[in-house]
């Protein structure tokens, strides 16, 4: 039962983080490999505040979201000047730099040793300590994320995002401030990812930089793309599939060292397979098609 709840909580956290990436990658068409960085910054801000200042859960989550949003703005800015492959490289650079700071700034982040002993969250005098309690909390956060996301994509703001994805130059010609929109979607996405990071930090109660590597970013991107980019429910489907599928390996009884590699091979393989035969993903509406280009 604990195990089942654990899986559901993980699905919830990954749903949150991939819903936020879906806004950036799926709706706006900006592929970013920096999402584990936002997620990680959220987790670290909350963990450091909880451990060093003993501040309450709600204050931590707000600070984590704000700080990560700020970083999101910073990552969004290069998207104004560079695009496609080069933008992917730029987000990659942010990811590597963030990881390296988490890993090397030992006095502040604990470095490779991580931060152990994050306390249980307390919301309005209510301490959440059981798996079930966490599941309810994550479920609520997840619902909130999905609700915000659905409001965004159905709003005029969301329509402009899709327009940028389909034809940036045309959108600009229609008088839209695409720079503002791009930075804003990064701010929103990074903030939502940070909230997921906070949930992760409190749930596992121990964080170290290896949870926020480039590989994790690629995993989150895979969830969005396999689930279906540009569809509200795509990331949910992706998170369910990509979290559940490797769990099945447990029941075959493979040694854990092999299972870890196999887990990654499964999602890598799925990514290739989907790109070859169904680039839209399971529920997708957008397939990163080539823009009408003339060189």
């Amino acid at each position: 039962m604990e195990y089942l709840l654990h899986i559901l909580i993980l699905i919830g956290i990954y749903t949150m983080v991939s819903v936020s990436l879906n806004l950036i990658a799926g709706y706006t068409g900006l592929i970013s490999i920096a999402h584990a960085a936002f997620y990680g910054v959220g987790a670290y801000v909350a963990a450091i505040m909880a451990l060093k200042l003993q501040s309450p859960f709600l204050a931590n989550i707000i600070c984590a979201v704000l700080l990560s949003s700020l970083l999101g703005a910073l990552v969004g800015i290069p998207s104004l000047r560079i695009r496609d492959d080069y933008f992917v490289i730029a987000t990659f650079a942010f990811q590597v730099i963030t990881f390296s700071i988490l890993n090397n700034w030992v006095s502040f982040t604990g470095g490779p040793m991580g931060l152990p002993g994050i306390p249980q969250p307390t919301i309005l005098e209510l301490e959440i300590s059981s798996h079930l309690g966490f599941l309810v909390l994550v479920g609520m956060m997840c619902a909130l994320t999905l609700w915000i996301s659905s409001r965004i994509v159905r709003s005029p703001f969301g329509r402009v995002l899709k327009a940028i994805r389909e034809d940036e130059v045309f959108t600009q010609a229609a008088g839209k401030n695409i720079a503002g929109y791009k930075v804003l979607v990064f701010v929103i996405g990074a903030g939502m990812a940070a909230a997921a990071g906070v949930m992760y930090a409190y749930y596992i109660s121990f964080i170290d930089p290896t949870s926020f590597t480039v590989m994790e970013s690629i995993f989150i991107l895979s969830i969005v793309i396999i689930g279906g980019a540009g569809n509200l429910w795509g990331p949910v489907a992706g998170a369910v599939v990509l979290v559940l599928l490797p769990e099945l390996l447990r029941f075959i009884g493979l040694p854990s060292s092999v299972a870890a590699n196999l887990r990654q091979m499964i999602y890598g393989g799925l990514l290739v397979t989907f790109m070859m035969w169904r680039p839209k993903g399971l529920l997708g509406e957008y397939a990163f098609h080539a823009r009408e280009v003339k060189k």
Binding site: P78, Y86, A90, P279, F288, A290
Partner: protein, 291 residues
Amino acid sequence: MEQLIANILFSASTIFLVGISFSMIFTTARFFHFAHAAVITSGAYGCFAFSQWLTLPMFVSVALAIAAGTGLGWCLELAVYRPMRRNGASPLILLLASLGLYIVLQNGISMLFGDDTKVISGSAVAPSISILGARITGIQLAVMGFAVAVFFAKVFLVDRTRVGLALRAVADSPELAKVSGIEFDRTMGIAFCFGSFLASTVGLSRAFDVGMTPTMGLPMLLLGVVAVVLGGNGKALGVAIASVLLASFQQIAGWQFGTRWEETTAFLLLLGFLLWRPQGILGKPLRKAEV
């Protein structure tokens, strides 16, 4: 000081070789071939398997490992990228697929060989020789020599031969190249073979120098990519200048702040360039509508 310069030159040679190997593919196929990192690693592990498991003589293992690495790159093109291109996949889709390929290959290597650092034992650890007060090992010297050779070979190959002409034609305009009777797929295959050949050679030399891990390819590839972006247009000269610049930055940062910040410095430099001079050192600016 002499040692610092020697380190910079060696590190620049490695970056340059990876950069050229990547840009051979990047300029021709026009998508970001992430799985190239696994090709780099495969050269090293190929040699390990041939020399340690099959106990073949060293020079045979080296030759077979490079052939295997080249073959791997070519197979990826044949089995994955080519069918995808025929289906009209965009560069971003190819990029995502290559990410998946990288993950599969890297974990495959981890599973076969384990995650610990492997060294090729039996490779005569060349005693370091002293040149102008700097200590350099034989393998480092060989890498530098190879980098210089590749620099001239690349200039000659691309500017003077029919194959080079075909490569440039496909890079400039795939449609026009096709109607001019250039065999598109064959040219693409050649680009992948050359790139993978160089990549597995660099991976192999790294294995001889400091040993190998399954994940070593990605940081190496990324530095190479940084050099290509900084260099501008994938021309050998641009990549060479950028490699030296990058290596100096890195080594000096490593010397001043400790080696753990080397990677951070390289990527800060990359971000700086992407923001203020996205066309690189020698490149021409492109307007948005043209890209």
